[in-house]
């Protein structure tokens, strides 16, 4: 086989193909870079540049969904989608997050009772929920075959970037569509990053970040409360990576505070897996004194033993909330 394309030609070819596809996918690339590296192209380039790629992606997305392929998630360019109005005025929260003394943690809040009859439960969250939900659903299905349970967990999602995946909106839609009785939420490790708001970027951990993050939690809780849907929000355990550990501390503070304010439940995973106020540990002793590995290699996810501990706690929590 001969070399039909010379090296300089090949260089130009690759650049041309790259440039054409960059322009044709500029909007999706912006979303990707925001979600992956918290870097926004749209805050550096004229907004008009993104229009053609958005329209094209919308067209192709529709076509792809018609022929049964996965349509791309097309969202607005450059700016966060406007949040739907929250009906009940959310209570204000204490915005100063203090690290808890070593060895302590925010305790579970058990305040809700489920309504009588078959439950319709939604499991929402990121890859952590992807690990937990199948186990919980399997367990509950055996005990309550008439319950309807939906697992919508999706990896790499959170509350910080609504452009990539919009949990408040998705949960609101599911509440309406499925007439849910309970929503269980477990997310957070994708959240310790800057937030892009219309016309500005808010750094992680700043009071303004906390305020906006809490507003997104409020949006979910307010909607659920208004529709008389119970919520169990799972807190995060200790994380290996420093940023995630700090994120877990901040997120737990917000989740706990907002759950308390709205009268919903908070289930602490810290005593089961590892306290955020202590250094990360992969192993924990079980009741027989044996050391068991609870965490995946990345120090974020869980081994089957870790998943099992959380599953048992969550199932017990749900069973306890059933009317006697």
């Amino acid at each position: 086989m001969k070399l039909a394309i010379s090296v300089p030609q090949l260089g130009w070819m690759l650049c041309a193909v790259g440039l054409i596809n960059t322009l044709l996918w500029l909007d999706a690339l912006d979303n990707y870079l925001d979600a992956r590296f918290q870097w926004s192209l749209s805050s550096h380039l004229p907004i008009d540049w993104f229009e053609p790629s958005r329209h094209l992606a919308e067209g192709v997305g529709k076509l792809a969904s018609q022929i049964g392929r996965h349509a791309k998630e097309v969202t607005q360019t450059g700016q966060e989608m406007p949040a739907p109005p929250v009906k009940p005025a959310p209570p204000t929260m204490q915005l100063a997050v203090q690290a808890l003394p070593a060895g302590s943690f925010l305790p579970s809040l058990v305040v809700q009772q489920l309504t009588a009859g078959p439950q319709r439960i939604l499991f929402a969250g990121d890859s952590m929920m992807q690990g937990i939900a199948p186990l919980v659903i399997r367990d509950l299905s055996l005990k309550h075959p008439d319950w309807q349970m939906t697992d919508l967990s999706k990896q790499s999602t959170g509350l910080t970037s609504r452009k990539y995946f919009d949990w408040p909106r998705t949960i609101e839609q599911e509440i309406q569509a499925q007439n849910l009785t309970l929503v269980v939420i477990f997310l957070g490790p994708n959240d310790p990053r800057d937030m892009y708001l219309p016309e500005k970027r808010v750094s992680f951990g700043k009071p303004e970040w906390l305020e906006n993050y809490a507003a997104r939690v409020d949006e979910i809780l307010a909607n659920a409360v208004q529709n008389q849907v119970r919520v169990i929000w799972l807190g995060l355990p200790a994380m290996r990576e420093e940023t995630l550990q700090r994120g877990a501390m901040v997120s737990n503070h917000v989740f706990h505070d907002r759950a308390q304010a709205f009268g919903t439940d908070y289930l602490a995973t810290e005593p089961l897996i590892g306290l955020v106020s202590l250094p990360f540990k992969k192993f924990m002793r079980d009741e027989n004194g044996l050391s068991i590995n609870l965490r995946g290699e990345d120090g974020t996810h869980f081994t089957p033993a870790g998943l099992n501990k959380i599953k048992q706690a969550l199932v017990a929590h749900i069973e306890k909330a059933l009317p006697q």
Partner: protein, 468 residues
């Protein structure tokens, strides 16, 4: 950084033109390639880039030692070097599995163990570069004059197209290319570009579609599915893993060609195999041939009688299974394939009738598909439950989305027919690319890549073999 991520594609646009500019300065070009390998590896973990450097330097020193020792001491020195080389893999990948399994086993017998707990993270690609290191040490022992310089060994073990998920490159083949001076200039450009686009389509469109539609939801909730849906998931996974790993291999082989290097063949249409031995000469060829040449043959291969041959086959397949990861599912998968190959050998020994080609092909596909269940499942119990659900099922066998099952059946048929004609198709496309002007090829490629992205998933999907 994944090979199908936007950031990798954009970096390639900067890297390749610069790399080709250095073609007349091979030392500088190789240094640039080495640096890019470490840079890419550091995007996964900076610490492990350092560990890989130290490991490679250690392998270079061991190679130097092996190549300089006298013939009498060589077997012992080589054995020691190989133990040191592979203990790195055992320590990082299997320590926790061995500790936990030993601890559980002893507790059942009424003992306690005090093996130290280690918070270990396995370096990405460790199974691949460790096996490459083995080929280097064996090469150094066979050809004493051929021990290589440190930069060459560093490049061999950090050659980025094969660093993360293979194919496993043999040292003698890699260094022969360096010595021939053919590297650094793109090889068979049209073929390389065809492989990259085809591999991306296989992975991003088809493997992802199969995973999302047929495999993942069913393996997640097998008890909620009817028998036919479970069967569709099994078939779907067989196709998904072939398209995922095959697509990955095409992409990296194409990228290596753009760098001027040839990677070994890793797939030869495995689902056209007519028995299990044939399957293993077509599936993950760089691993199966490694196990054949570095484990099976040194253990005696088929030279020590029929029974000993079967033992060697079982051990080789067991190692192949364990190589994939510290989980009993992989152990069982390896043993199952071992038993399958041994079964074929016994059948031949007993001079059983030669099966018609269609029947042999179907039986082989069936066996491989059932075995993949153990490869895919998280636990042995999960795999057995799924298989049991094929006939013991509360929902009945026919409880399924028939439209989806038909889609899969059509896709499977098209896939198998395409496999038969893959080489002819490749020749036709590559000839077409070569006989047309680059100014025509460029927009066609741009459109194809646009379509691959459009029909692919949102986000960057992981490759199945990145875990190993």
């Amino acid at each position: 950084m994944s090979f199908v991520s936007p950031e990798f594609a954009l970096l390639c646009l900067l890297f390749f033109p610069l790399y080709w500019q250095l073609v007349d300065r091979p030392k500088l070009q190789r240094a640039f390639l080495l640096l890019s390998g470490y840079g890419l590896y550091a995007t996964w973990s900076l610490t492990f880039a350092g560990v890989l450097f130290a490991y490679s330097a250690g392998i270079w020193a061991l190679g130097w030692w092996v190549s300089r020792c006298d013939k009498e001491r060589l077997p012992m020195v080589l054995a020691l070097a190989l133990v040191l080389c592979t203990s790195f893999l055992v320590y990082f990948k299997y320590y926790e599995f061995l500790r936990a399994s030993l601890s559980d086993g002893l507790v059942h017998l009424g003992f306690q163990t005090s093996l130290p707990l280690m918070d270990l993270v396995t370096p990405v690609g460790v199974s691949f570069f460790t096996f490459q290191a083995v080929t280097y040490l064996v090469m150094a022992a066979q050809q004493s004059a051929q021990a290589r310089s440190l930069p060459e060994v560093l490049l061999f073990l950090c050659f980025w197209p094969s660093l993360f998920a293979g194919p496993i490159v043999r040292a003698e083949k890699f260094f022969a290319q360096l010595d021939a001076g053919t590297t650094g200039r793109p090889l068979e450009v049209s073929l390389a570009l065809y492989w990259i686009v085809l591999g991306a389509a296989q992975k991003l469109i088809f493997a992802t579609w199969l995973g999302d539609t047929f495999v993942d939801p069913v393996f997640k909730y097998p008890e909620q599915q009817g028998g036919l849906t479970l069967l569709a998931a099994m078939v779907g996974y067989s196709l998904q893993i072939a398209l995922d790993f095959g697509g990955y291999t095409l992409i990296v082989t194409g990228l290596a060609r753009l760098l001027g290097y040839e990677l070994p063949v890793n797939f030869r249409q495995p689902y056209l195999a007519r028995n299990l031995q044939d399957f293993w000469t077509r599936w993950h060829v760089s691993l199966s041939s490694f196990i054949r040449d570095y484990i099976y043959i040194p253990m005696g291969g088929n030279r020590l009688g029929f029974n000993r041959t079967q033992c060697n086959v079982m051990l080789g397949m067991l190692i192949s299974g364990v190589w994939h990861g510290p989980n009993w599912t992989f152990v069982f998968w390896g043993l199952l394939h071992g038993l399958g190959v041994v079964g074929v050998n016994f059948y031949r020994q007993a001079r059983g009738p030669v099966l018609p080609a269609w029947l042999a092909h179907t039986l082989t596909l069936l066996f491989v598909t059932v075995a993949w269940v153990f490869f895919r499942a998280d636990t042995l119990t999960g795999a057995l439950n799924l298989l049991q659900g094929l006939w013991h099922n509360a929902h009945g066998f026919w409880h399924a989305d028939i439209g989806q099952v038909l889609q899969l059946a059509v896709f499977t048929g098209v896939f198998l027919v395409t496999c038969r004609h893959a080489v002819a198709l490749q020749t036709r496309v590559v000839d077409g690319m070569q006989s047309n002007s680059p100014w025509l090829v460029t927009p066609v490629m741009a459109v194809l890549i646009y379509l691959v992205i459009a029909l692919g998933p949102s986000g960057v999907p992981g490759f199945i073999y990145y875990r190993f």
